[in-house]
Amino acid sequence: MDLFSNLAMGFAIALSPYTLMLAIIGCFLGTIIGALPGLGPSNGVAILIPVTFTLGLDATSALVLMTSVYYGAMYGGRISSILLNIPGDEPALMTTLDGYPMAKAGRAGDALVLSGVASFVGALLATIGLMLLAPMLARVAYVFGPSEYFALYLLAFCTLGGMASNNQAKAAIASCIGLGISTVGISSGSVMPRFTGGNLHIYDGIDFLVAIVGLFAIAEIFFFIEDHGKNSPVGVDLEKTTVPWKDIWETKWTMLRSSGVGFVAGILPGAGASLGSFLAYMTEKAIAGKDGGFGTGVAKGIAAPEAGNNAAAGGALVPMLTLGVPGSGTTAVLLALLMTLNITPGPTLFTDQPEVVWGLIASLLIANIVLLLMNVPMVKIFVKILMVPPAILLPGVTMVSFVGIYSLSGSYFDLLLMIGFGVLGYVLRKLDIPTVPVILGILLGGNMEDALRRAMTLSDGEWTYLFSSNISIGLWVAAIVGFVAPMFLRNVLRKPQRVTD
């Protein structure tokens, strides 16, 4: 009964005209951001967060807007995958394998509608999963003490870094950069300044929004300058769109299975939507066997990754809301939003601010319906928007980033810092060093250090206290496995082109 009363409260918030309007705007913007090659959900949310603050939105409204952008971007990623063979974002990569061949065979409209329906099924089931699982996990998290939280943060760094790079040392160095940046400013435990060099601007630490926008948005413009806009969308060709009922009916079990696979992949800290879509595709390919025709433009090859990646996006919200540990790059950015709004994600969020959580869950359910309505009949509008040339789009994104950050602090120092992070992001990505662990380090570094210091205070400096409970031992083991396992799994997981072999 709790569930229904909570959900009723959530819908009461989400169905207010203002929140509903924000959800629709978020869905629309998110779909465009996801569809444009180069701008993924992480970039989209990162660019829009400062603007959200300047609008003075309350916590629930800001969260609804940003998660609608997140879900919208997950939907939008498939459009350029199918029409251009360029994934709008990494999770949409697997959709190119069958989506583009189907479009080339003259069924672009069918592929877009089918993938839209699969996205809807995946995201809807994941939101229901989030609704059922998150409160349960939150109750478990109540028994977490500082040693468990320290181990949990370690797990997040190990798994997120492990999956995000081809080289574990590089993933670890990225985490260290982030953690190092998090120590700049006044130390929360002892009120002593650290690594400030006497600069008053950084006594409060380095704002993670500045770092996020720099690493994601400003770095992107440098890549576009390097490419000279080679990723410019050309050759979009879309005839009439109808609903391919036969394909939808034939792929119903694929959508359900893939949603389950994607949701579980999303819950695992660090795995994210890319792994969700990959595993869903591989599972269906294995079930279909050699006669399945995967890679030639079959309906199941489109339904599986789309249901998988959208379900993973919902799944990634579970650890973020219940434990305060993001399950993917975009949820790391959303975590920054929560922390800036003075909302502490974790088990207490469900009891202290139920209106935020349940308003969000109800909004996600509504956003899904809005996205289905947008992405099936209105798909031609998004295809037209896809034609915006990068020479207009990227300068526009840069200016939005500048205004967003400037309006938050009014300080040119933050703008210079943002450009510095942009340069750092460019160099890191060139060297295949993932940027998400940097963000995670800046976000969670303070909490991780606090957990360590509280654990040591409780145990009077006894280090073995960090391994004193079964939960913390389990998390340490999972962290080590999460760091080591990708070394062996990488050949399979990082080379999706083998799927077509």
Binding site: C176, G189, M192, F195, F222, A391, Y412, I419, D460
Partner: protein
């Protein structure tokens, strides 16, 4: 391979400087068995080890842009720095139009198109930010238009 080695070496030096900086952190009067130094020490040591790993076991060389493209990226960064300094004294419209035009030109080198893109973005974004979103942006330099 050289790129990883150079980056690893730079990061190792940064980590050493960071550890040296950590030794200078003042401990507080509050009772704390760990203190404000331990965490930075741990991060610094781990960072230095990973950086050394990059030096001794580098990956294949990434595909770096040509010298002229590098120059274009450096120029873009420089333009953005100037933009950051110009926003306050010169207002939104003029610096945004110039910066957006330069960035647009760097992505697609067509002067007329870039100028129009800069002008359009500047005016369009100003209308959106000022009137739709209600931000307190200043359009022109105050010294000219008050």
């Amino acid at each position: 391979m050289a790129s990883d080695r150079i980056f690893g070496l730079v990061m190792a030096l940064v980590a050493l400087a960071y550890i040296a900086g950590a030794t200078q952190i003042q401990t507080s009067f509050l009772p704390d068995p760990v203190g404000p130094k331990a965490f930075p020490f741990g991060v610094g040591i781990l960072g230095a080890l990973c950086a050394l790993f990059m030096v001794f076991k580098p990956d294949a060389e990434p595909e770096w842009p040509t010298l002229s493209t590098f120059g274009a990226i450096a120029a873009a960064a420089f333009v953005l720095v100037l933009y950051a300094y110009a926003l306050k004294p010169l207002g939104f419209l003029i610096p945004t139009a110039i910066t957006a035009a330069i960035l647009s030109y760097q992505i697609s080198p067509r002067p007329k198109y870039a100028a129009l893109a800069g002008l359009g973005l500047s005016c369009g974004l100003f209308i959106v930010f000022k009137f739709a979103l209600g931000l307190g942006l200043v359009a022109f330099p105050k010294m000219i238009f008050g």
